[in-house]
Amino acid sequence: MIYVALRMLTGDRGKYFGIVMGLTFASFLITQQMAIFVGLMTRTYGFITDSALADVWVMDPKVQFVDDIKPLQDTQLLRVRGIEGVEWAVPLYKGILKARLDNGNFQACNVVGLDDATLIGGPATMIEGALADLRRADGVIIDEAGAKGKLARKGPDGIAIPLKVGSTVELNDHRAVVVGICRVSRTFQSQPVVYTTYTRATTFAPMERKLLSFIQAKARPGITPKELASRIAKGTTLAAYTKPEFESLTISYFMKYTGIPINFGIAVLLGFLVGTAIAGQTFYNFTLENLKHFAALKAMGATNGTLLVMVVLQALLVGGIGYGFGTGLAAMFGRAVGTNTELAFRLPWQILCGTGGAIAVICTFAALLSLIKVIRLEPAIVFKG
């Protein structure tokens, strides 16, 4: 009877493709929206991810997320260095400074000041120049997206001319020379990222009593980052987080205090509902149209169990194919838009599992509706013409 179920499903190509297309659309929509949501959320802590060397981030206890800067006194760096188990600890400046553009407009930039001696926390991928070039006078390294996009100059014909090594920019009324172009994770607000040394960053920044944004620390061998964070927190009264903890703190802030989750949640829910409506309705209609055939099978001796297996098999088949096509299309979409463009797109395996679950729910829902009809089906209807 499995063969009969499959032939019933696939025999009418139009209806079969209709159901598969519905589920493909639902699967694509759910995967794509979730991937953009995850991509966007990943950008909120992209800066933390890029700073690969540090085990522990130390900051003011009131800091809620990575861009929530509450500066520390420079002496706190020495206190952290004095904690047992710290291999090294370096200062990090992070702030938003304005860059003046050629046309007179200002562009907010994410300026990162790295420890002058070690340059720890710098970008991992250099496209032009070298990290050490930051030691040159007024040297800054700009991220590729910023150099080609928001900080690019306009040529006489209106075409953007990307910043390149040797170009100069004006940061908060200070001259800076581009000594390198790097590739970093996109920031949440898609602002250009400008790397320089800590000392230079503090001269670019407006005068303030405290300018130290974070302290990055490394644990000695044999000490876990969590243990070190705990020691620093106890020994300094500052907040100290391991990298995953700081990422989690940042995400939690965005989830709790911004409308992003609810807005994307609605989009994902809509995808789910539209998918359910299209696929569920189409599959349900398919079963309804076949009710007289199910009734005939029932009259001829097919048990409810046999009919249930047939319906579930049909639902699983279209669900599986729709899921495969939908997630495949979403992956192709992600590949087409790229991983480091304006559109945030990230497709971890958890999303694929989530979409699989959602499609399973849609199919189960549609199959359940159909099954109820089939189980309650009175075989005597076959004699009613």
């Binding site: 009418d12 099978l297 001829m300 001796g301 076959v382 004699f383």
Partner: protein, 237 residues
């Protein structure tokens, strides 16, 4: 000395009502009827007289409210649902007014369905169904889809399907109503030639007086009762 024939169907005091209150409809009001094995009985009567309800009860797909229905000695109502479904699959064949062929299966696959339901392997089931198609005059049409067959041919497929698992009782609902006179006659001849014999009984619900001559007996129903059981008119050919 006359040899008593085995009773295929024995109905006694069958009543059936649908709905309740003001919408209550009494379909059968105490039907008594016996059908012998190797007999072709036609149930006739005006629309709404209870014919379809009666064959549904005989076929074990509907329960009566009162009375008893025995098919080859089995009390249909007393059987558990699962047993009754199995009994139906083993011993009863169906021919429906609208043929009820699955449009996406070939003629042979359609005819093989009762065997597939019983768990016979597909290849063997289709082979046996193809043999049966040959017996009903559809040799070489086993690979055709129902849409590629005429109404008469589709009805032949339905007949092959009703016979393929060698049931002892076949119930037919208006088997010729969708066919022209000539095709209807051929279908009935087929029933007589292929379906009858081997102790098999046929109960045919029909309005089509042109096929009455094929019956052994005709039971006329009206208002939920059997009002007359007569011998069939003499055959015209």
């Amino acid at each position: 000395m006359e040899v008593a024939q085995e009773l295929a169907v024995e109905l006694s005091g069958i009543t059936k009502t649908y709905g309740s209150g003001d919408s209550k409809v009494t379909a059968l009001r105490g039907v008594d009827l016996e059908v012998s094995s190797d007999e072709l009985l036609m149930l006739v009567g005006p629309s709404g007289c209870g014919k379809t309800t009666l064959i549904s009860i005989v076929a074990g797909i509907l329960d009566q409210d009162a009375g008893s229905c025995h098919v080859f000695g089995q009390d249909m109502k007393a059987m558990r649902d699962r047993d009754r479904v199995r009994y139906r699959g083993d011993h009863i064949g169906f021919v429906f007014q609208a043929f009820n062929l699955l449009p996406t299966l070939t003629a042979a696959e359609n005819a093989a369905i009762p065997l597939l339901i019983k768990g016979v392997a597909r290849r063997e089931a289709v082979e046996r169904a193809s043999d049966m198609l040959e017996r009903v005059g559809l040799k070489g049409r086993g690979h055709s889809l129902p849409s590629q067959l005429s109404g008469g041919q589709q009805q032949r497929v339905a007949i092959a399907r009703s016979l393929v698992h060698q049931p002892r009782l076949i119930v037919c609902d208006e088997p010729t109503s969708a066919l022209d006179h000539e095709t209807g006659h051929k279908v009935m001849e087929l029933f007589r030639d292929v379906a009858m014999g081997e102790g098999r009984s046929l109960i045919i619900v029909t309005h089509d007086s042109r096929i009455f001559e094929f019956a052994d007996r005709i039971a006329t129903m009206d208002d939920g009762r059997i009002v007359e059981v007569t011998k069939a008119p003499p055959k015209s050919h």
